[in-house]
Structures are given as C-alpha cells and as structure tokens.
C-alpha cells in the first residue's frame, strides 16, 4: 500500500473513504504535487495547504465543512431514479444507476439537508459529481425543488451547491424540464422573500448553469472553478480555435459580471452567515 492517498485531479475519491481515512495517511495535491496530512487537508476544508487548490469534494464533505458540528438532517435521503423512458444506450439506464450507486455509495447526484451554519438554520442541496457527472435528472430536480419547499415552509435560507456537467441525457425531456421546475421554485422563493444563494463549484456547466445555478440572489463561486453554458470542447470545435487562457474560470465569470464574488472554501461558512445576518437586519 502506498503511503499517501492519491487523489487524481478530476476524479473524485468517495467522500466516505476520505472522511474515514485512518491517521497516518497522506494526501497528494493534484495541482502542486505536494503532500500533506489527510487530517490537515480536511481541517483546511479540503484545500491544499501549499497552493490553495480546492479539491473536488462531494456532498458529505461540504456538509461537514458547513454545518455546525457537522450535524444535519438529510431530506429525501431514499429518493432514487426511475426509468420513465426505458432508456437504453450501450447500457440500460437502471443498470447504469445501480452500478453508480454501488461505486459511490450515493443514491443519485444530489443530497439535501437541513442544519445550522453559525447558528442560522438553512437548507442546503449539494450535487455529487461522482454520480454520472453530477447530471441532473428527475431525482436531482425533485430533491432541489423539495429542498426549496423546505426553505419555503420553514422560512429559512436556501443554499445550492452546484457541480455538474449538465442535464442527464437518459431522462431526455424529463431532464430538460428539471431546469423549468427548479426555476419555478426559485420564483416561489422570490415571492416569499427567502434568500437563495447559489454556489458554483468546479465544474458547473450545461443545463445547471442555464437554470438554478445562475439564479441566486447571490451567485458565488469557488476559485478556479470551470463555469459555463457550453463546455470548452464544444466551443473549441465551434470556433475552430484554441480558447484563451483562463476562459470560463470563476475569475473570468466574475470579471464578466455574472458572479457576486469568489469565495475561498475556508471562508465560505463565515461569509455565508455574515451575509444572511445582514439580510435579517
């Protein structure tokens, strides 16, 4: 066994593993290739202590970073995907789901939870990129919608953490309409004056960008995240040229006026609670 836990860039190590890694394991930063103690990395909100690279983490890690004492109540934890189109490509959709569930220990690409951040009650929906690229089908759309319902019912803020390649093809028309459904619920949040914060993380593209991720009262992002509607490959093919350096990074999106600010993950919790306190007056 190697003496450090390798976390390949772009590949997500199941958070369960990360969380329960015994002391003595080391984390290798995929960006600067330097090593740090896994516990140190975790205490640093899964960012590199050397170069500040923000590791791609899943819902459980975000919940641990954000909720007071890591305590939360998960909503709709058992919801899982149906197969309304009986979709088959090179594999049948239900078997793809099942395999992914076994591999990741997740039910689908989004988890919703209620808890406190610095004492403020909040609902958080967080996407898991490890589950079919964080793609949005009916489960993701429904969990987000119900999460927003929870905020509406309890009059508490809603935080969406996006990390997605876009809509899930295997649910075709249903996937597309999740963009409409989630946006409809945001209209309800507006009516009820419930704060909605959208955190865009690496990567956030496609139908997620073209719906709830861009509709926050505050659109915020983690540094260096890839954010866009079309993916870089598609744009490159369209224009037949190399893309400029830094194109579609969070910093680029901020500069072009679509983000309120970029936030270091280590500061996220305090920043959020400060903002929400000001809104409450």
């Amino acid at each position: 066994m190697s003496w450090f836990q390798r976390t390949g860039k772009g590949i997500q190590t199941p958070t369960e593993l990360k969380r329960e890694a015994p002391d003595g394991l080391w984390h290798l930063c995929p960006e600067c290739k330097q090593v740090m103690h896994t516990r140190e990395h975790k205490q640093n909100a899964y960012t590199c202590i050397h170069c500040n690279y923000h590791d791609k983490i899943g819902s459980e890690a975000y919940f641990q970073v954000l909720f007071d004492d890591g305590a939360y109540k998960e909503l709709d934890a058992d919801m899982f995907s149906a197969d309304p189109l009986e979709f088959v490509d090179t594999k049948a959709y239900p078997s793809r789901i099942k395999q992914t569930q076994e591999k990741t220990g997740l039910k689908d690409a989004c988890r919703t939870a209620e808890g406190k951040i610095n004492g403020i009650n909040i609902t958080i929906s967080c996407m898991d990129f490890s589950f079919i690229g964080g793609s949005m089908g009916s489960v993701v759309g429904e969990k987000i919608a119900r999460g927003m319902d929870n905020s509406l019912k309890k009059k508490i803020p809603f935080l969406m953490i996006s990390k997605s390649g876009g809509a899930r093809m295997m649910e075709a028309g249903y996937s597309l309409m999740q963009m409409a459904k989630t946006s409809a619920k945001i209209a309800r949040l507006d009516q009820a004056k419930i704060p909605y914060i959208s955190l865009l993380t690496d990567p956030t593209t496609g139908g997620v960008t073209a719906s709830f991720a861009m509709l926050g009262d505050f659109n915020i992002a983690e540094p260096g995240s890839l954010i866009g509607f079309a993916g870089p490959r598609v744009i490159k093919e369209t224009i037949g040229k190399e893309l400029p350096k830094g194109f579609q990074t969070a910093e680029f999106i901020l500069e072009h006026g679509f983000l309120d600010f970029i936030v270091d993950r280590k500061d996220l919790k305090d920043k959020l609670s400060s903002l929400l306190k000001i809104l409450k007056k």
Partner: protein, 317 residues
C-alpha cells in the same frame, strides 16, 4: 425546387408519374381518368402508410426539412399586421430571434421566435437559429413590454440549440436562458409556446415556459439532439436513429409524458407541403388558447403555470 427526404422520394416519383400521365392524356386527347384515379389512390395510400408510421428519426428530419415554414413565414401568414422590434438595449440585435407586435385576427399579440435562414447567406445571418444571450434578452425585453401593456405572448420555438460560442459565454448564455425561464414563469399575461421545428435543450426552453406549450406534429423537443446524444453515449455519430428512439423526443412522446400540453396537426406529409393550411391551423389554435387563458386572473394563471412545471419528473421514493 423541392428538397426530398429519402422517405419522400417514392411518393414524389408516383406524383411525377401522375403528372406525366395527365399531360400525355391531354396532349393526345385520351381518357385516362380511371388510371388517374387508381394512381391517385396509390399515392394517397403510400403517403398514409409512410406518414402514419414515421420513425422518430424521420420526424426529426421533417422538423429540419429545408422547405419547412419558419417563424417569419408564420408571421407573414398569420398576422394582419406585424411590427418587428429590434435589440436587447445592451449589446446588439440578434437576428436569430425575431420579435414584434402583431395583430392576429383582431387581437394584439407579442410574437417572438427563433428564425432560421433559407439560403446559405440567410442561414449564416440567422446563425442557423442559434441565438446568443442578447437574443434571449431581446425576447425578455419584449415579453416585459407585453406584460406592461397586457398583451399575450406567443413564442415560436425552432432552434438546434443556443449558440455555443466564445462571446456567447462572455456575455452569459447560461444566465440569459436561466433568467428567461424564471421570468416567463411569472409573466402576468397569457403565454403560449409552440415548438414549430427543432426544440433543442436550454436554447429552446429559454423561450419555452408558457401556460400552454404545444408542439407541431413533426417537431421534436428534448434535452439534446440525436446526433449529439449518439456522439456522447455511443461515441459515434452513426447511432442517431437509435438515439432519437431512446430520447423519445416527438410530440406524441412529449405529450404522453405530460411534458407538453398539446399537439398541433400538420398537413399530411408535413408542414412544408402546405404553408397556408399549417399557418391557418396554428392561428386558429393560438386564438382559441388566448381566449381560454384570458378568462383566468393573472395570479391564477401564474400559479397554474408554476405548479404545472413543478410537477414534471418521475422518481422513486
């Protein structure tokens, strides 16, 4: 010159034969009426057989038929008056989306739709119906104007997708579409959306939130085109027919899932064979729907619209 799809060819051949027969009879002054009748019947039969059994891919092909009516054709045929309104007031006018105030059968309507070009130059000018963010923002500006003056909105959807370009990203393609979706959700006037050709993904949905979302019989509406789906899932362009089947993207499919509200029938053989008939059907449908929707109070309509979209999706829990 008509463009013929593969499955239109056998019908066109018989039609040509019929024309020849008629001409021959006329030139030689002979009575071929029974032969003409028989051949006409065969043509009718073949047409029915072909068009009653269209595959999903064939419908996709019809939706993109180069002779198919586009937004401006419908505007010309349906509207007694149309005043095109340009620009998003921010960046520029996007020719891929047309919008303006219209008089349709005595009713004031704001008509907005994607526009494809018919010849090479026009196609480029219209960017193949692929809008940039400023196109969606122009559409929203016009919808807000319609709301101010209490005029119903009709959108005609026909796009292979929102434009995936460099500047489109710089100017926030995702944000523009997202904003339209949310704002259309709460627009206080009646909104009717009709997919007249291609309804590809977010680019279509950016004009697609309405009290009534309808599809022409041979249009398609889904999260991705069959070709792109094939490329991603099968890693080859060649599985587009299977992808079309798997995506279940036709009007019949989408209606059966409750993801659209209705299907507007096309003339037998497709909308391109009879622009006037198609436009008349569309006009009648739009006027009927506006009449029904106008009876509701604005708040009721918005609530019903939001609730409709909130119910879409199938999960196990």
């Amino acid at each position: 010159m008509r463009t013929l799809l593969e499955f239109e060819k056998p019908i066109a051949e018989l039609e040509a034969k019929l024309e020849d027969m008629k001409k021959l009879a006329q030139d030689n002054n002979v009575d071929v009426s029974s032969a003409v009748r028989n051949l006409s019947k065969s043509i009718e039969q073949l047409r029915n057989e072909t068009f009653d059994n269209l595959t999903r891919w064939q419908r996709v092909q019809l939706s993109r038929h180069p002779d198919r009516p586009y937004t401006l054709d419908y505007i010309e045929l349906m509207c007694d008056e149309f005043h095109e309104l340009h620009g998003d007031r921010g960046v520029r006018d996007d020719p891929a989306i047309i919008g303006g105030l219209a008089n349709i059968g005595g009713l004031s309507v704001m008509v907005i739709g994607q526009q494809k070009g018919r010849k090479t130059k026009q196609r480029q000018h219209r960017n193949f119906g692929m809008a940039n963010p400023e196109g969606y923002r122009k559409a929203l500006r016009l919808m807000k104007m319609a709301e101010k003056f209490d005029i119903p909105v009709v959108t005609l959807i026909d796009t292979p997708g929102a434009f995936p370009g460099l500047e489109a990203e710089e100017r926030g393609q995702g944000e523009a579409i997202a904003r339209n979706i949310k704002e259309m959700m709460v627009l206080k006037v009646p909104v009717i959306c009709v997919v007249i050709g291609e309804g590809a993904s977010g680019g279509a949905l950016g004009l697609g939130i309405g009290d009534r979302v309808l599809m022409l019989e041979n249009s398609w509406y889904s999260v991705i085109s069959p070709e792109n789906c094939s490329t991603i899932l099968w890693r080859s362009w060649d599985f587009k027919e299977q992808a079309a089947e798997a995506l279940k993207l036709t009007a019949i499919d989408m209606k059966s899932f409750g993801l659209v509200d209705g299907i507007i029938p096309e003339p037998k053989g497709g909308a391109h064979l009879n622009f006037e008939e198609m436009a008349a059907t569309l006009k009648k449908t739009i006027l009927q729907e506006i009449k029904i929707l106008s009876k509701m109070k604005a708040d009721q309509r918005v609530d019903a619209r939001i609730d409709k979209f909130c119910q879409m999706g199938v999960v196990n829990s």
